[in-house]
Symmetry: D2
Subunit: 109 residues, 4 copies
């Protein structure tokens, strides 16, 4: 990985963290919250691993690759849940998750 | 706070988190590491609260203001330590810390 | 604070973190999830600050007192929400929150 | 995994987190800090993943196994570094790391 690629992967993680946290907050305010419970759960999982991965990459962690591999899996799962829901916050979140998963997979390779 | 101001404060926290983590890594690799120990310690403190504050703001935490007030204090302390050292990573980190402290103080007001 | 008091405050934070995370998971599985949304939100807030405070105290952070003051406020708010609900996980969580708030206030004093 | 095994794995993670943070703080205060730089770095890595794994298990994360697998690897690496140093904090930390690695491997299996 070049420095530029690492930097971009950090950016994707931070965008995804924000999209997941925004989606989590919005899901908690949805009228039909019962339908959103998996989304709420996965948004938290995904925001937390993305924050963790961004921190790890930016401190040049010797485990950055392994952490990104895990992050890619969680992003994938969160994106798959979010894309089932028609809310704009879910659709945007799914997009951020898949972009982040791709960047993390490249980082982990 | 407008949405735009919150968004900008999140951006400052995330920039500061990256600068602190980069500085932490670079300090651990400095030849005269004994002089950098407070910097190493405060870089970690500051990176962690910045990541935490960015997460809190992006999930619309009811405690975002209090968290930003604490973040401002820690950024200030980290910036004051970093600016004592002539390494470029320390000078850049100090700058990011002071910018983040200012944004967090505005958020907390 | 004596070492023993710090150690006990760490223990309370870690118990509270576990109680909040357990309550969060259980709330997401409750039939009437709409009534639990504030509980879900505050459980996450509280678990995160408790984990953060425990880490800060155990690394002898120069900001441990300020962090514990914030932790006490968040624990208090989470406990007040949880105690409104009759679920056993909420009642247990409220108890852990109030115990942790007390320990953190003593630490912050 | 039984509930009892999960509970024990959480306990090991939290003990290891505390041992790593204590060792990190003590290493930063050692006279010959230059020899301790890998220990400082790995202590932070290990404390952070242990806190993260404990949170994940206590919220019944669908990714608990994967997170514990990563935690086991990081604990192993940190324990191997710590055991090279004769300081009591390093020896105790190594012990906590290896115990936690074992519990996390069982959890991940």
């Amino acid at each position: 990985m070049t420095q530029q690629q690492v930097k971009q992967c950090i950016e994707e993680c931070l965008k995804c963290m924000q999209a997941c946290n925004h989606c989590y907050d919005a899901c908690l305010n949805e009228e039909h919250i019962g339908m959103m419970k998996e989304c709420i759960r996965l948004d938290r999982e995904c925001a937390d691993i993305c924050a963790y991965a961004a921190q790890a990459m930016s401190r040049n962690s010797p485990f950055a690759k392994e952490i990104c591999r895990l992050c890619a899996d969680i992003c994938e799962a969160c994106g798959n849940e979010c894309k089932k829901h028609q809310h704009e916050h879910c659709q945007r979140c799914a997009e951020a998750c898949f972009q982040c998963a791709e960047a993390c997979q490249a980082m982990a390779a």
